[in-house]
């Protein structure tokens, strides 16, 4: 089972990388962008013996303890 974890910056946290990407997109001629924000996408593969419930619980703990810094980041977990 492959779980998908999306880590995104919280609203209000400045994202200079996103701003730089937005600027480049603008210079390339893409119009009408109000903001671009970068995040992380992480795939975590569980062995078959792990239940969906257990995986969800474990992923939450992983995000809180390591994958995300909850001072500045939100996380979202997707399970199949």
């Amino acid at each position: 089972m492959i779980a998908k974890v999306y880590i995104t910056l919280k609203n209000g946290v400045l994202d200079p990388q996103g701003q730089a990407v937005q600027k480049s997109l603008h210079l390339m001629g893409f119009q009408g962008l109000s903001s671009v924000r970068l995040g992380k996408y992480i795939e975590v593969c569980f062995e078959d013996s792990i239940s969906k419930e257990k995986a969800k619980e474990e992923l939450k703990s992983m995000c809180e303890k390591l994958l995300a810094n909850t001072v500045i980041e939100d996380y979202r977990i997707e399970l199949p």
Partner: protein
Amino acid sequence: MKWGVVVFPGSNCDQDCVYVLKNIFHQDVETQWHEERTLGKVDAVILPGGFSYGDYLRSGAMAAVSPIMQDVIRFAKCGGLVVGICNGFQILTECELLPGVLLRNASLKFRCEDVSLALSTSREPWQKRFSGKKTVSYPIAHMDGNYFIDNEGLKELQDQDQILFRYVQNPNGSIDRIAGICNAKGNVIGLMPHPERACERILGGEDGKLFFESLL
């Protein structure tokens, strides 16, 4: 005093700290590998600069969960002196011994230069040690030194006199020009500039000695 300098894979300022403490301040120093589970008998711990775990995921994130950090956290909570320099500061925020977080520099550039810092705290012995100097010059060398904390947290730092150093000119976008802070108790200290690289005239200056003298 007996000092422990923790070495993570990718640390690169550990030997600078050992050299300064041993050769300039004649302290007892040993290095500790991050996989060890206990610090042993030490009076103070330094988390040195560098790029622990290649800065993967977030600077300092993986070092913050390495085995020895459990004991560093215990040591700090018992009032032990813990100092994080550069990557060490990032590790201290990641393991929540210090509040806030160090984001990518606002300029998106790696900044490697000497900066002027002003002592911002009225805590002792800092005030006394730095009293003769309006500003000090320390080198910085970092990509993720942009200190960020929410407004509530910033107010707490200000109200509790926890901001140790501010940049005279902000090199990285840090909120309130913060270069270094301590916890409320004052026994956990983190800063982005490198005082250990400024302790001998041959290296361009001796202002860094004031920092270490404030810890001894």
